[in-house]
Amino acid sequence: MIEQPRMVKICDIWDESPSVKAFFFKFDLHFDPGQFVMVWIPLLDEKPFTISYIRNDLMGVSVLKRGMFTNALHNKKIGDMIGIRGPYGKGFGLQTNSNSCVVGGGIGMASLATVVDRLNDATIIQGARTASEILYQKRFKDMNLCTDDGTTGFKGTTVDLFRKLLTRRRFQKVYACGPEKMLYKVVELCRNHGIEGEVSLDRYIKCGFGVCGQCDCSGQRVCVDGPVFNIKELSKMEDFGKVTILKTGARVVY
């Protein structure tokens, strides 16, 4: 096993929102929904991104412009090269015939996009700060949207909208990704309603293959034991929803 980045050509770039771009490249390896790759810009840095498009041998990642690295990635043009290594991590355990709900907050929706592709009739909840930041409007029909400012859909959080839906709908399984405080509340709601749930966590990742210990969450390595964890696993992870670990290894409370 050799885990070195492979240089691939960016073959397409889509604007998903004013702050999110999707980058497409050829990478002929099998990916499960929820697995991630490390994207390398030589001499700059390397960061993890969940695959948000799987189209035969074409893969895509949806990248929110947030810091130095993602800024540099946003400046890339079609034809530019980036390094990719992966797939890494344990993805979602899909139950295609169950009545399921997908709950995505902000860029977390990118980690759930391939889940929606695989499930036939999942109910989708997507939350964003404002209307223009809603992702995949053409890709997915009939999404239940919410925004912080009420510019589209329900005015409020994904958790509020999920709670509201639960008063009139029953789900067997929930797939969620977003800010960890949101995930914590989604998991609480799932527990109270007896719904199975899986969530994808975000941590600072270095090696990606489980040796450096940087991405620890209560003894679980988010890069190989996760990033997707089920409710039972999360119930043993005290840090979930409360503590994350910085690049230095320092613990910080959310």
Partner: protein, 306 residues
């Protein structure tokens, strides 16, 4: 069940088996140390701690190749104050925990050791041999006989705990460095740190992959060198030697012990075989000893010597 004894005693630290988690692998949190212990390690070592927090190098920091791993993490750590909190209540881990302590000058080592004195560490390891972090180890002259003597002496003054001095395989006079450590009051030698540094270039990008460009080489590529170092050190010093470098199977561990190691460190082995590597190495050692008529691991320490 077999009557094979794998337990060893290193500097009055009792280990149920000779496998030790090497520093820099998975030792970032108490929760991970506990998990490694549950997976069979006889002792565990934390990721190195400095006085101040350090972010380390940018990614990529760890990559693999067909004969091992190359890393330049750059000693990222939360600093001694946060580390003292993280590593409080170490009895929860279930096995002895070794503190790895770093500094850019000898006073720093003493400050970190003092800062961690409230935690129940079983030993202090000082790696004076990192090949890829400016200000530390080989890049700061800490791995010379004089540098090693001075830092070990400084640490000796502030702790009663056993001191393990971790050496580089790069240095031809490794035995002279080990003797300097022994003279300064070290209680064991950990041999060896990563070698090199090495470099891996992505030829399509035409650039080194690691952000720091170079990194320490570990894994299979390091093993024969580590075995030779341990073999030489076994004759050169009276204090015990902990053998580290490329161990991922029971046979590797037996080989290192026959070279003279009283215990063995495992790091890159976690990459090769997962966290369960400790349990597996112990099972394989037991099996080998049964098949070859040995009942006590301590009886084969140094067996390869004339």
């Amino acid at each position: 069940m077999s009557k094979i004894n794998l337990s060893v005693n290193v500097c009055n630290i009792q280990l149920t088996n000779p496998t030790i988690l090497a520093s820099g692998i998975l030792g970032t949190t108490k929760a991970l140390l506990k998990r490694v212990a549950q997976n069979g390690a006889g002792a565990v070592t934390i990721k190195s701690i400095s006085v101040e927090p350090r972010e380390g190098h940018k990614n990529p920091t760890v990559i693999t190749f067909d004969a091992g791993m190359l890393n330049a993490v750059g000693y990222s750590n939360p600093g001694v104050v946060a580390a003292a909190k993280e590593f409080a209540g170490l009895q929860d881990v279930g096995v002895p925990v070794i503190a790895s302590v770093i500094g850019t000058q000898k006073e720093d080592f003493a400050r970190v050791v003092a800062g961690l004195s409230g935690s129940k560490f079983s030993a202090i390891e000082i790696p004076l041999s990192c090949p890829h972090t400016p200000g530390f180890g080989l890049l700061a002259g800490q791995g010379t006989p004089q540098g090693t003597f001075d830092i070990t002496s400084a640490v000796r003054k502030v702790t009663e705990l056993p001191i393990f001095v971790k050496l580089s395989p790069n240095i031809p006079e490794i035995c002279a460095v080990a003797k300097a450590a022994e003279d300064a009051g070290a209680n064991a030698i950990t041999a060896v740190n990563s070698m090199g540094p090495g470099m891996i270039i992505n030829i399509e990008a035409q650039k080194p992959i690691l952000s720091f460009k170079v990194g320490g080489v570990t894994g299979d590529a390091l093993r024969p060198i580590a075995v030779r170092c341990v073999y030489d050190l076994y004759k050169a010093v009276k204090i015990p030697v902990i053998g580290v470098g490329g161990i991922s199977t029971g046979r590797h561990a037996i080989e290192m012990i026959m070279a003279g190691a009283s215990a063995v460190g495992i790091g890159t082995g976690v990459y090769y075989r997962g966290i369960e590597v400790f349990k597996r190495v112990c099972e394989e050692m037991t099996l080998w000893m049964e098949e070859n008529g040995f009942d006590d691991i301590n009886k084969i320490v140094g067996a390869a010597h004339d």
